[in-house]
Amino acid sequence: MKPGDFVEARRRLEEKPRTSGEKLTTLMDAVGRVMDGDHVAIGGCLFSRTPLALLMELLRQRKRGLTISRNLMCYEGEWFMAAGAVETIVTSWFGIGLPWGLSKIMREKVEGGVVRFEEWSHLGLGLRYRAAAMGVPFLPTLTMLGSDLMGVTQTKTMSCPFTGETLCLVPALFPDVALLHVHRADRLGNCVIDGYPHMDADIAGAATTVLVTAEKIISEEEVRRYPDRTVIPGFVVDALVEVPYGAFPHECYGLYEADFTHFDAYVAEIKSKGIRAVEEYLDRYVHGAPSHQEYLALFGEERLARQAGYARELVGRS
């Protein structure tokens, strides 16, 4: 969709069959709604609450020509590059973290001109999702002004009609699909997130189709008992799947910490084998494990329990 095209975005929302009813389904059915060439926005942030179960199903279904956006893109971006599934990455930062250095795969694909890297500032991208969730074509900001990011993005500058000052306008970003992983949801799609909410609520409001995995499906009764904990209303959600450890080995606040040793091994393989390491990784963890339970089995109970223990320590629930 054209950046900022709030008219077309609302039309698509209105044309969509809507229901305030049941949203529960399977990963396969949920992800089946993604089309080749779609813009897929990914919730969470870097290695926090990444909707890995949904992303892996997206790879299993071998979608092509995707644009994927995320405020901080972790190695899931490398997966889609290695699978030849992505044409454009929209993000403010790409990598895993300082200890793991630059992304070898990303450098190869972007420097080689195979994949487009569209860079925004962190807030700039956040405001794009927010503008979309608000149903407006743009939001004004001071961020990015004067920097070279202005020249490589679809931002515009304007003279403020109230003050005459120069403003940066970031166009609303309306993804075709949003993939989110949350802590809890009821079968109607009312979602609860513990800890930092990242940009998930804005991404959900911005997208035409919203696919959610939840660590746990809770009763409608529990949602109604604590309505001030709901951050995404059911009428925004199209499909919902219960997937415990749905972000593992990334973290889910309060439930399990990211498994850094897994990141070490993943990066070490790439250092020695390059992109073939990623292909082998996908063969083993994605295509070799058709269900999320089979995927988790590759890590083993013990590892999951250990990471859950770390999480409890860090949120003082131990």
Partner: protein, 252 residues
Amino acid sequence: MSYSPSELLAVTAARQLFGVTSVFAGVGIPLLSAVLAQKTHAPGLTIVVEGGTIGPQILPGRLPISTNEMRGAYRAQMLPGITDTFLYAQRGFLDVGFVGGAQIDRYGNLNSSVVGPFKTPKVRLPGSGGANDIASLCRQIIVVTMHERRRFVPKVDFVTSPGFLNGGDSRSQSGLLFGRVSRIVTNLGILGFDEQTKVVRLEGLNPGASVKEVTENTGFDLLIPDRIPVTKPPQEAELDLLRSLDPERNFL
């Protein structure tokens, strides 16, 4: 007593936060410096991490690797969304922003996007993350970086995070009405900017560092005043605290 360049850098950066009430800090040395300041001369310091955590207290030995994880949110006071966290800076609530970059130029502009042309980069770097936002929106920006000739270039290949842009009043002319780069803290010393031209100026030398060493490690001509104060060497208490935070020396 002995200390590593990064320890020296962290201690020097921490001392910049005297009297500061809030600091927007990236992970690594900047966060270490903020925690050190909080535990010494700036007890009231509120640390803000861009992943959306306000007022965390770092658990020694469990330093966050990213800006958005439980280690960085340990005992935080608030966990707003990421966008809202940056908006507190845009509104003017956040005093100091700690930033770094792969390249920095004579006007304090930072590059963490590309080496070479943007569309056909020689090296595609990770990108801005929140660096551009912190440098654009906080009241005062302090650059924290190792002092290396390859980093200190005459002109950055790409302005990811604005310093004084082309010098003079070009920053405010661009619409960035607030915030300014006040200092560049390095392992060799402290750099400031000429009031008019906004060109980098040497303002302090760390113990053991010489003007010669600074100029040799700076890829452009920086202003050298006649008298340059020497900073107080890291104290044992500071180093002990620092090392207790990062016992495995992941960042030090």
